[in-house]
Every structure is written in C-alpha cells, then in structure tokens.
Symmetry: C2
Subunit: 466 residues, 2 copies
Amino acid sequence: MHDADYRMRAMPAAMLQALQQRFGPRCHTGLAMREQHGRDESPFDVPPPEAVVFAESEDDVAFTLALAHEHSVPVIPYGSGTSLEGHLLAVQGGVSLDVSRMNKILLINAEDLTVTVQAGVTRQQLNAELRHAGLFFPIDPGADASLGGMAATRASGTNAVRYGTMRENVLGLGAVTAQGQVLRTGTRARKSSAGYDLTRLLVGSEGTLAVITEVCLRIYPLPEAVSAAVCFFPTVDAAVQTTIQIIQMGLPIARCELLDANTVRAVNRHDQLGLREAPMLLMEFHGSPSGVAEQAQAVQEIARELGGEDFDWASTPEARTRLWTARHHAYLSAVQSKPGCRCVTTDTCVPISRLAESINTSVAEVEAAGLPYFLVGHVGDGNFHLGYLIDPALPHERETAERLSHQMVMRALSLEGTCTGEHGIGLHKQGFLLEEAGEPAVAMMRSIKQALDPRNIMNPGKIFQL
Amino acid sequence: MHDADYRMRAMPAAMLQALQQRFGPRCHTGLAMREQHGRDESPFDVPPPEAVVFAESEDDVAFTLALAHEHSVPVIPYGSGTSLEGHLLAVQGGVSLDVSRMNKILLINAEDLTVTVQAGVTRQQLNAELRHAGLFFPIDPGADASLGGMAATRASGTNAVRYGTMRENVLGLGAVTAQGQVLRTGTRARKSSAGYDLTRLLVGSEGTLAVITEVCLRIYPLPEAVSAAVCFFPTVDAAVQTTIQIIQMGLPIARCELLDANTVRAVNRHDQLGLREAPMLLMEFHGSPSGVAEQAQAVQEIARELGGEDFDWASTPEARTRLWTARHHAYLSAVQSKPGCRCVTTDTCVPISRLAESINTSVAEVEAAGLPYFLVGHVGDGNFHLGYLIDPALPHERETAERLSHQMVMRALSLEGTCTGEHGIGLHKQGFLLEEAGEPAVAMMRSIKQALDPRNIMNPGKIFQL
C-alpha cells in the first residue's frame, strides 16, 4: 500500500489577504468551518485546510485558481462532502474551494433530453426539478452528492446497470484549469469525434486536473411503467447466481441491488421495516407496462429456481420509496449498529461471470476474521461493497480490515476486475491503482497531471504520487 | 481554415536499415506499396510515407516506436485505410505502421459479453466469428474498418442510436506509447473509477498519442427478434420530423438512417434495387417479438401522420441484407454517379431538436450552389453527411464545396453541435475544432500531446498544430 504524499505547503499571508479581499465573509479561517471541510465519509484523520472559500461563480473559481497557482498552494474542490476515499482531505494544506452555492439549474432541454447545471447542484435537487417535466436523471450513488463531485469521481450507484455511470451520462463540462483558465468540453450533440475526449478525461480525475464548474448531462423520460420487487434467498450465493443469470440473459433490468442479512437487520432496526432478515435482492424494472411485466415474469422464474422466496411487488411510488429508503440507509444503519465504530469500505467490481467467486470468498474471509461487517452490492454491474466496522481505538481491527480489503482487491484484479467501481482512488487506493493499471499506465496519468498542473496545486496527493 | 503542418522529416539511413533488419520482407520501400498506404478515402494529395512495415505483434509495434522515437521520425498507424479525413497521410513523411496482420480474435467471453481482439481485426471478421455464439458487435461505420482504427477515430455509424459509439463500447485497450512502452488500459469490469480514463483518452486520439494494438469490446446477444422497414417521404423535412418524434418519444430504435432521393437514385443504379426515388428512412428494431411489434407500430403511426408512404417490412435476413446493402453502398454509388469526381464529405452532428434546421438549410444551400451532392444520415443521433461531388480539375468546385462545408459547420456549432460526429478531425478540420472547442480546450489537448509525445512522432500534423 503506497500512501499519499503528506508534505504540508503553507499558504503565504499575501494569498490569504487576497482571498479575504475577494470573498469577504465567504472566506473562512475559523476552525469549525475548516474542520467541517477537512473531513468526508472516509476513515482518515488529516489536519483541516487553512481556509475555506465559497465560490458563487465560475469567476470566483478562476480567481482562486489563478491566485493559488501564483503562490503554488493546493486547492481542494468541495461539493457536498460525501466522498468515501478522502478526496477532500487537505493532505498538503491549502484552501478548500466550496462550490455548493453554485447550485443553479441553468437549462433543461426536454426536447433533446439534456440538462445543464452548475457543479454544486445535487442529484436530489435536480430530480425534484426534472420531475415536473416528466424527466429524471438516473445516476444515484445513495448520498445526495453534488453533480460536480459525482463527475469528478465517476460515480454510479443503483440504476447504472441500465443507464450507465457518469462516464456515459456527462455530455460536456465547464471547468477551470490549474492556471485559472475557463474552458468548455463537449457539446450538446449525442456523439462527437472532435479531438481528445477531455470530458471523459476530467470525469473521474478527482479534482486533480481541473475544477468542474458546470455539467451537461443526459436525462431520460420518466418510464411509462416502473415496478420494484424484493426477493429473499437462503444464501448470498443464491442471490448472486440469480443476478448473474438475469444479466447474462440480457434483461434490461434498471436496478439490481443485493443486501446481505446483516444489512437487512441494520435497516430493520434503523427504519422499523420488518423485512425478513435474509439475503435480499432489490430490483426495479422500467419500460412499457407490457415490457415491465415481461421482464418481471422472467426474473421471477429465475429467482424461484434458485430458491428465491417471498417475491414482493411494489408498484406504488410509496411502496417503492420504502424499499429504496432501506437501500439508501444501508450504510448509515450499519455504521450505527456498532456505536463509535468507523467503517472501512471496499468497492471492487468484476466481470459478471466472476461475481460469485468474488463475493463468496470475500464473505468467507471476513467471517473467518470475526470482524463485524455488512455487504451491499450493485450486483448487476458486478460491483459490491463490504463495510468492515472497526473500533478506532483498536489498531488490530484496522489492520485486519486492511488485510481483508487487500486480499479482496488482489482477488478482484486476478478476476480481471477493478479495485474501485465507483468510489475512486483518493488517498488510500494508490497502491491498488498501480497493481491494477501497471506502472506504464500510471506513468501516463502522471505525465498528463504534470503537463496540466505543473505546480501540483490541484487536489495534490490524490490518485498517485508524483 | 488552419491547415496541417506539412514540414517533411527525412528518415535516416540507420533507421531504415534497422527496420529492414527487423522486418525483412515485411518492410517495404517500393512506390506501389507506399502509395497504397499514403492514400485513404479523403480527397487530399500528399507524398507517400518513406517506408511501410507490417507488424505481426505488439513487440513489432514497440520496436518500431522505440526506433522512431530515437530518430524523431513520424509513425502513422494503418488499419484498413478507410479514413475519410486524411488520418493516414504522411504529411511529415515517416513510416506507415500497418497492423492489419495483427488480426487475431484473442478471447470471446460470452458470459460477460466481452471480446478481446488485436487491432487489425475488422468488424466483419469479428461479427462472422461472433455469430456462431449468438452474439454481435453493433458498431457499423459502413466500411469494413479495423477495430483499432475505429477506436482511434471514435467511430460510430448505424446502430449507435441504440448501442452507442466506440466511446461507450471499448472497455479497455492495449497500446504502445511514443517511447515504445507497452501498456494496458481498463479492465473487463463494466465500470471503474480507477484513475484517469486513459481508455477514452486514446479512443478518438487518431494515432497521435499511442498506437492501439488490442481492443476489449462490449458485445451483445443477437436480438430475439429483428425487423427492418423502409418508408418514403414527400420531402427530406418530413423524414427528419419523423425521426425527431421517434427519438423524443424515447423509442429504443436500433437504426434510423436517412437517404435522400439523390442517394436512392445512385444505389438503384449501382445495385438495381428498384426503390422509389424519394427521401427514405431505413429503420431497424431489436428486441423481443412483442417489443419489436410495439415499436414498429408506434413508428408507423408517426410516419403516416407526417406523409410517410409505402411502409415496407423486411423481416427475413435476406430482405434486410438487401436494404442494408443499399445503405452501405450509398457512398460508393454516389461517387460513381459522377465519373472521375472526388467527394468532399461533411459530418456535423447536432442535438435532435436542431436537426431539421441543420439539414434543411444545408440542403437549400447546396441546391442554390448547383453542385451535385448526396445526403445520408444517422439521423437518430442528429448526425448526417452531405457529400459534395467535385471535379478535381475545376478548382472553383472545390472552393464551392469548402464554402458550403464551412457554412454548415458554423451552423452546427451555433446549434450546439459538433463539426464531426464520427469521422474525426484529421487533416482538414483543425480550424473547425478550434472554433468548436475554443482555444483553452485545444491548448489542453496540445499540452497532453506534448507531454506524451515530446518528439511529435505519433501521426504528426493531425487534429491540431503544435
């Protein structure tokens, strides 16, 4: 495991003065605000940034970057603080650039199924607005993340099995370079062969190449019919085998989520749901009424053959909301099930034919280690998360979690998968990236970084070491 | 219009000797072979490369690049020679690196719907092999292009409206850098957030950043039911309005192609098809039998309301092949309709709501100019091609074609579209790229190029000027 580069770079007084002059009360140096911006959902402890500024325009972002470039001081973009991989942590000091107030929905093009938003708009805010027009944006990582942050980490979550990830759904970006230059990538056309794909280079670059200020997204008509179902299985393996068959048949399932018994137990306690405490698949189908019925029928047959029971349909929006609440509260509920714990989360993704091996062995290993854990998965994509619940006061628990996580990633790579399906590399997966991509590919990434950000001010210390 | 950089760079004798030693009879310096590799489907005349080598392995590619890097000599990757934008032309001399003999299908993973091929495998070769397994690869640019070339130009064509382009369907690449270093990008997992998206940076980079040696692709089960149909319209506009409504309704049509009356006339003459010589939509539907019937019904209703007539179904493979032959021979048939002509092709793509304006004005302009032309379009994507048929002996015809093309691109950009939906920038659209992306974005592309290929040996003179 290669860790990040933690060399602190102090902010000169002249830079702080310039920030205060520009931002006035929108520039904060108080500890509470700095600590709030120096922490995300990751389990790492790092000193907070030296200052926090709230950008309200692309000009504010450009000003901050030009200034930081002049002084060679790190800038860490901040959206909604929901990263799990330490993306926000000021490992080399510097300024946290909060774009959450850049939260305007700029243009909904219902005719072309595109929307243009500022980077701080969150997915729930966007969907609340789109609903009036009979439209929706499907990418749903659980947390109410900002769309700029979701682009920066190449997020996905439920619905990706049908609609793809941020990679497929970002048409173009507004961004500001390390030198403070504003640029636009992509167009509103559905496809283009015009030069290098800067859009997809910036999507997933974790704030290390540019600060995303604007996102143009594909959106979708609300499906004519939506139906959700749960089904319980005797074992995790039976649920996984069901998933594999659904995907291999080419069924256009919209969501296919696995919750293990530990997770169901935790959400039951958290939300009083009264679900059967067994491995559970939570599925959703989108389409025409007859198309949805056809898909549901096919899935039910597969599930039954593999021991699935208590198939339960939720066709009303209220019933669906209840089920998806269970899924969305899984992380929080599980963490609350062990008071005072921290959660070490894994995020491997493998080809679907390798999913059973990947999950079964990982579960056997954590059971053998005796660490409390929970398992949730976007299994339709081959992606799942084990959350190891560790006591921060017991170093051996962290060591055990790290060892299990390491074994799991190495196995995923040997199964031709990836160390991170959707959370990103951030602070602590840099060694895994090197294992996965190989030195020549990481060297290429490093060359690009050095060319675009020669002073290493853009979220330094993340993804790889320079 | 900015033209490419044509400064010739001679190959030192030592380099030629080293190539001859390595490649033996696979290294060619004869004029015929050089001329064949110094020409593509573009209308440009440029001296041929100084040598042609046939690579049979990734090692051959790495050897050639390391050698070329040492001597600062250009290398131009060559797949099947079907580029329309001058990508293959040796504008600064150098060696043509032919990968067509790297034509092994390395691994079909039917369970995961992925296939790994060497870069020289063509799409027809791949589909002939996949058919046995009940699978297919949908991207179809018309020509029997190599998959390495299709990745390098971010190709699409028919079927993209449903299945996406090379951008969406390449999972990973094998490639060799300008320094002769072999690397792999991506994994066989469906999604990943592991570092910069090098796969999509190389897809569409037109051989200017690395030579693609291997491609891992998504493949699809052959649909249970396939149905194709033609429908004729009183005007191009009526056909375009029909398309817009189909797309805006969210119908999952698999192919939606427009041929104008000039094109139908040309393919009738070329293939004795006896089609009605009017604007024609050629459509295909994929899905379950009931799903296909549902889609076809909906489309027929839209078309009828807009004056569509002679709706004709082709449900047998033979009848479908006949129709798609017409589409695939469109370019050749049109060019042959004016003996001795050259074809200047446009490739704009706009948001679907702007398609009628984009097509109608462009047609009116070419009609007013009196130049023979034909129009074909992947209209479901908002992408269409006008082919201006010019007499190479009459400079004013080329000037007229260039003027029309320029007007058309500027209009596409003002409609929030792109100058190239699928052909790439190549030699002659560099000014358009600058208009479209803006100087800061092109500067970012240039920085990446300079970082990865500091001696500018990778297909120099293409996409932008350094």
